[in-house]
């Protein structure tokens, strides 16, 4: 399978990428690692006329401590997230979740920014940045703006990014007391997307593949805040969600998985808190 014809352009800087996107209009897409976009293009589910390759913008690939936050460049690969010693000590949830995305080849190419911008509710990192209460930084024709992770995911493959806007950085505030973390996902085969996944950080709980977008398990968080045990709180994991029915399981099965995985995640988080 090969994608429909398109024009390939390579950006040498963020400014050039934004200028190319402005020229390309609605028919242009940014290409990072390409491991979400190219498979869709091969299936003709995405048919952009212009691809703007940002894959060489090394200035967007980093993990660093920055002014009381951990700053992660949008072009950082899953592999580099998993290998980061700063993340291992400061944000192990992100490092561990990244180490379980896809397979080694995918992790060499796929990027955190590409995954978030793609906004697939079955992807792992969108739920992880929700649990981390991250801030996403985007640059566009009218400058830079910050978007709370909670406001970023707006529907199936829909993010808050405007046309021509490029996700550049993910910022996670530091210095908060840690109440433990965990990442749990259930797959049929190692490389598959999660049938259901759960990310927990400091009593914030986010769910993978339990609706049209990654969601916080608010009812679980409220129960925890009210003093419920992790086991009792986990019983609320599927409240307010609308999980899909597909080959891997129906909605009822996913609701069950969400409760089981949330209980495991809260137990593991408590053991690390």
């Amino acid at each position: 399978m090969i994608p429909a014809a398109f024009t390939y352009q390579r950006a040498g800087s963020v400014d050039e990428a934004l200028a190319l996107a402005a020229d390309g209009g609605d028919d242009a897409k940014f290409l990072a690692g390409g491991h979400s976009l190219l498979p869709l293009m091969k299936l003709r589910l995405a048919v952009p006329e212009v691809l703007i390759d940002i894959g060489r913008l090394s200035e967007l690939s980093y993990v660093r401590a920055d002014n009381g936050a951990i700053a992660v460049g949008a072009l950082t690969s899953y592999h580099d997230l998993a290998q980061s010693s700063l993340l291992a000590s400061e944000l192990p949830l992100l490092a561990q979740a990244a180490s379980q995305v896809g397979d080694p080849q995918v992790r060499h190419r796929g990027t955190i920014g590409g995954s978030l911008a793609h906004a697939d509710p079955a992807a792992d990192l969108p739920a992880v940045v929700l649990a981390l209460d991250a801030v996403l930084v985007a640059r566009g024709p009218s400058g830079e703006r910050e978007i709370a992770a909670a406001d970023f995911f707006q529907g199936l493959f829909e993010s808050a990014l405007e046309p021509g806007e490029l996700l550049t950085e993910i910022r996670i505030p530091q210095g908060r007391p840690s109440a433990g973390w965990s990442f749990q996902k259930f797959t049929k085969r190692a490389i598959d997307w999660a049938i259901v996944g759960v990310a927990v950080q400091d009593r914030r709980v986010a769910l993978v593949n339990m609706g049209q977008q990654p969601v916080r398990a608010s009812a679980v968080e409220q129960a925890l805040a009210g003093g419920a045990t992790p086991r009792d709180a986990a019983a609320f994991a599927a409240e307010g969600t609308s999980p899909p029915d597909d080959l891997n399981g129906d909605a009822r099965y996913r609701a069950h998985l969400a409760r089981v995985l949330t209980a495991r995640a809260l137990d593991e988080a408590a053991s690390r808190g």
């Binding site: 290409l31 390409g34 592999h79 397979d103 490389i191």
Partner: protein
């Protein structure tokens, strides 16, 4: 567009459509057919090559993305005198292949693993192969071969 890739140390330049996938560039422009098109959906790993030293699925990389980069395929592993790479030798010694279709991808995934982790445990080898499928299900001997190659290299 004009794409130039150093394949197994040799420069290969060709005018190709923008949508050309790296696996097709390697097979049709460089004329190297070890890298197989298996699933074509970045699941099976039969097309695995090294791109600037890291394993990638070449069915999910554009040739244009590899422009100016170095690609290593299974054909590029043997020494100049034809001496097999330790991973290739180990696959032969341990019977790490049956039909052979997945083998070039398995070998490249193994080379990438051993470059990052020269002494993997058996569990680490199995995890490192999660992106490579063998439909003959000959995994045990593949894992044995990679462990043997790692011991060979470390000793």
């Amino acid at each position: 567009m004009k794409v130039s890739v150093t394949v197994n140390g040799n420069p290969v330049t060709a005018e190709v459509p923008d949508r050309t996938l790296l696996v097709h560039f390697v097979r049709e422009e460089a004329g190297l057919t070890a890298s197989n098109v298996g699933c074509d959906t970045s699941s099976c790993g039969a097309c695995t090559v090294l791109l600037d030293g890291q394993s990638v699925k070449s069915c999910t990389v554009l040739a244009a993305q590899a422009d100016g980069c170095a690609v290593t395929t299974a054909e590029g592993l043997a020494g100049p005198d034809g001496e097999l790479h330790p991973v290739q030798q180990a696959f032969r010694a341990e019977h790490g292949l049956q039909c052979g279709f997945c083998t070039p991808g398995m070998v490249m995934a193994a080379v990438s693993l051993l470059a990052e982790n020269p002494s993997p445990t058996e569990d680490e080898v199995r995890l490192a192969l999660e992106g490579n499928l063998c439909r003959c299900t000959g995994y045990h001997n593949i894992v044995r071969a990679i462990l043997a190659a790692s011991k060979e290299r470390v000793s």
